[in-house]
Symmetry: C2
Subunit: 629 residues, 2 copies
């Protein structure tokens, strides 16, 4: 029997209450059928998340900046190795709890439509093509997809279907108005691409409505498009609490029973939340048939069979616990972090040479901050290297440090005092100043997790906090050589820094070894090769309102203004000349002095500018290389 | 002219409002007299605190555990070097702000009377003699006291005068009832000793009342005893806001003007707070004479002159900024941390040898926690080594890590998930388990700074939080070799751990290099030599109520019960035999296999047991050594 048939047979032995119980993410055990309890909720956005120690790779937006989907696939393979290794041990306790299972609710392939969106850093940026390619590489790495393998390694889940992209504060009741053009060309494009190319096991329905229909219960989005047009053959899971939103916040239905029936009838098989407990009532009220429940249950058990949960011959059962945070993964992590660093400006100050003769002042509230390495939806690294520590370890000379200011508070409390004078002293004594500023995951993130409570995780504007602007101005006045490192998951207005400082680096949230990787770049062990996956605008004044889901005047494709740094921008330490021989062939010449990785981007004009290809290569100083698309 | 005469001359040129302004800690500039603004508030409990980067030595209670006052004097010298180096740079900005000056409000020589007191870890423990010796060594190190030197290096401040020791929640209005015996024998003993032996520049008045009189305005405590009997010749500063407490909370006076007059008339020269702004009113109301104000002002300026603030030939002006966190201080920090580790139990499991052949599981919420290195009243280390990192760096074999539980929360929130199963997996796979449990400075500390809001920084009992007890029980069930490391600033009931685990180590709050030092001990690079400066009781049930200031049934001197570990307890890896030849001479024989530091304690019985001498020596394996008192 294949997995589908085995699932059908198993489910046929279940009572209606048992079947209903299995459609909820905290599926209880059915002992008489030897079905152990299973919690479907696990996360793996950039490493196994919330499940204890794991290799914490750079945040999704950072990995997008690598423009290297081959490397991302290796990263996802490492992640699924760790997820499996952990599951193999956790399951020995007889059941697997939240964040211990094989069903990974990653990647987030929403479009980073507006730079204010707090969760934007969970995505691969603003471009559907980049998102699609990265999403595909990631899903394949998670799921295994190895030739000749019987089982699936883990289940990847594309989220949040669909259109979802803020504001966070409104997400539980928001109705996104979207033209068909924007829907297909922007919001759904990567979902379709990933389904076509990576066969994802699952899709997660979003909190919001689209054109009046709740995403988790949308006839059009689920029935017509996802299962219909896109031919998706996996299961759909609701975002957590999204089914209750249908009555509580969207007010489409009157109660949980109606919401549950509406969602399940439209193809949302699994409920993260509790609404599906009312399915029994819904059956009694004739809002749903037992057949629909049975079918969903069969789909879910097919997935569990396909993951090898009920067999002893699964190829992945032998992945040992020792792979978790192994040296190989650490090195891969460093490599990905290096490739995700985006050099935005450099007047030649970088890389820093002869550090033994130089005093370096590292200044800024993000320099020695662990949280900016980890971003959100993260695991626990048992070792990590902050930016400060990375610079200390890599420099052969004296490194001074001064936080200089609090990340947001203009007047820190008395027992947490940070002296701007200390930063000025350090800068004055230094030959080179490295400022490490930006945001952190408590300032931009998901509603409920981020702590800027008034905005529920979103940003009000693109400026750095006043406490930091003050410090930046003070340091700028000294006219010292300054390397400015911006640590953030989203676009910041870096106009002042571009004008006033010698080099500007964007390092997003670079993972547990981010400090090591940044130091490798700063001291020239590696040439930077990242590119911006989002436009760095000057101001939100140049953009439509946050709530406006039209793509007009948004992203590099449709933006009418002049950004500080455009999508795709990113320098290396070398000088790469692109000579396009025809539309699918480019000859690269490394005319500079550094070996470097380099992403060639291919654009088409339909009629707007549109990324349609990219390929990352390594090219030595003096070398010529032909790249075919 | 000497400093006193110069102060007198300068003050003679001031108007009454100017003089009053100088009695407040945020003393403004008097430009016409070339007096720069000076903020008197700075801290240096175990390193320059709150003033930016500095070497963060172990917390005071840890350093007390070293029973090594010679080493503590070296530490205090390093601290005053850093304070001076920082002041020398900060003053170039034309004034020095809070936490930038030379008047250091350290050490805290209160008696750790009750293990519940949150601020107990700021002290040198429960014994007046130990406190006195350590306080003296510390004050001398801070103030310089070098032969032939004209200026004072920094001002040390004995605090909190007097009797102060919790509860934190009540401190602003508490009236301590104390017998004369306890007052002199316990609470004031170390103050007198330090004044006799170290000539401290300043004393800080406490918040509380003693026998009805507010400490900062007490005729008996200040006039009769401090200035009278003890012959104290320095200045007295109020604790911050303590003068306003006299009317607001103690209700001794009706308003700030009366409080200010009462305090200053009784000898409290400097006000941390704002009450002394009402001195003008107090003069107008004839509550105080201008002469008293003038005299206090002269005392304060004498101190500033003595610190070299108005001269260009101060010996300490040349201490360069480079001493801050220099290698020499780092090594001293490691040494002090090593000597402060207290080995409470060892069945031979320690030191760990042949680590290359051993899998070690490091488990617990304090293993990778930076805050427990730093305690409170701390500076910012630009490098630090957590306990986990120290073990990872020192071990030659595999080190697994699992936090296992939250430090207090029994059910961590969903995005912060910690799996007890992960700890069990790690323990099962390990040859040796090192559990790193305990408290942190948000759970025990000062009212307003610590975050256990219901208790204002105090502890309710001596038990580890339930979340940790649960994990401890789970690990104990596995019957693995376990080294239990307790990280706390106060006594914890370690009865279960003593019974069930192979080794128990108390490491208090061990400073920025605490992880390195602990690893040196665990892997046998150094033999432990710390001793408990406080009694480790079984339960608060064995003690009088927290609010009871009688010493009856408190501390090793008067406690009638059986503690888990007594005051002074502490093992080495070797076996030291003490052979007392007479009451002042002891012959030590190192009969074990390890070279080790060792503190000889000398007790007298008057009639209760009473520490009256200690001396720390280094004794090689097989060596005999005579120690004279």
């Amino acid at each position: 029997m294949n997995f589908k048939e085995r699932a059908k047979e198993l489910v046929s032995k279940m009572t209606l209450p048992e079947k209903i119980s299995q459609l909820i993410y905290e599926a209880p055990a059915i002992e008489r059928l030897n079905v152990p309890a299973y919690n479907w909720w696990n996360e793996a956005l950039h490493g196994v998340a919330r499940g204890g120690c794991a290799t914490v790779f750079p945040q999704a937006i950072s990995m997008a900046a690598s423009f290297n989907d081959v490397l991302l696939n290796e990263v996802a393979t490492a992640i699924s190795d760790e997820a499996r290794a952990k599951y193999n041990e956790y399951k020995k306790f007889g059941e697997t709890k939240i964040y211990q299972g094989l069903t990974l609710w990653s990647p987030n392939i929403n479009i980073f439509r507006d730079p204010r969106w707090g969760r934007g850093h969970e995505t691969y940026g603003e471009d559907p093509y980049l998102t699609a390619r990265m999403g595909t590489a990631f899903v394949k790495g998670l799921q295994g997809n190895d030739d000749g393998v019987k089982y699936r390694k883990t289940d990847a889940t594309l989220k949040h279907y669909a259109v979802h992209s803020g504001p966070e504060a409104l997400r539980h009741g928001f109705n996104a108005k979207v033209s068909d053009k924007d829907l297909y060309e922007t919001y759904l494009w990567a979902f379709k691409y990933c389904i076509d190319n990576a066969d994802p096991s699952a899709v997660m329905g979003a909190y919001n409505r689209v054109e009046g229909e709740a995403c988790c219960a949308s006839e059009r989005l689920l029935g017509d498009i996802l299962y219909g047009e896109f031919g998706f053959s996996g299961y759909v899971v609701s975002d957590c609490g999204a089914i209750c939103d249908i009555n509580n916040n969207h007010k489409i239905t009157k109660n949980e029973a109606e919401s549950a029936a509406l969602a399940l009838n439209n193809g949302c098989d699994l409920n993260c939340g509790s609404a599906y407990k009312w399915l029994k009532t819904a059956v009694a009220l004739d809002l749903i048939s037992e057949e629909v429940i049975t079918k969903a249950c069969e789909k879910l058990f097919e997935a569990r069979f396909r993951l090898g949960m009920f067999d002893s011959d699964c190829e992945y059962d032998n992945i040992p616990y020792e792979v978790v945070e192994c040296e190989k993964h650490r090195n891969l992590n460093i490599k990905m972090a290096e490739e995700s660093m985006v050099l935005l400006k450099n007047n030649g100050i970088l890389p820093i040479k002869d550090s033994e003769n130089k005093v370096i002042a590292v200044i800024g509230p993000n320099a020695d901050e662990k949280s900016v390495l980890l971003a959100n939806y993260n695991g626990t690294p048992s070792r990590y290297t902050t930016i400060l520590r990375g610079i200390q370890d890599a420099s052969n000379g004296r490194v001074m440090y001064a936080p200089g200011c609090h990340v947001t508070k203009e007047n820190p409390i008395h027992n947490d005092s940070i002296h701007i004078e200390e930063a000025v002293i350090a800068a004055k004594k230094a030959d080179i100043v490295i400022m490490v500023m930006g945001l952190n995951p408590t300032l931009e993130g998901e509603a409920g997790d981020a702590y800027n409570a008034d905005l529920s995780g979103d940003k009000a504007d693109l400026e750095l906090p006043k406490s930091q602007r003050n410090l930046i101005n003070k340091i700028a006045e000294l006219n010292k050589p300054v390397v400015f490192v911006n640590v953030s998951g989203s676009a910041i207005n870096l106009g002042f820094e571009d004008e006033n400082f010698d080099a500007v680096l964007q390092c997003f949230y670079p993972g547990a070894e981010g400090g090591k990787a940044l130091a490798d770049v700063i001291f020239g062990k590696t040439s930077p090769s990242g590119r911006l996956p989002v436009t760095f605008y000057k101001s939100i004044e140049d953009l439509p309102p946050f709530e406006d889901y039209s793509m007009e005047n948004r992203t590099y494709k449709f933006f009418k203004g002049t950004p500080v740094y455009p999508f795709g921008h990113g320098l290396t330490y070398s000088e790469i000349e692109e000579n396009w021989i025809d539309e699918n062939t480019v000859e690269l010449t490394n005319k500079g002095e550094y070996d470097t990785a380099y992403s060639v981007l291919k654009f088409e004009y339909i009629p707007h500018k549109n990324l349609c290809g990219f390929k990352k290569v390594f090219i030595k100083a003096g070398e010529k290389l032909k790249v075919e698309f």
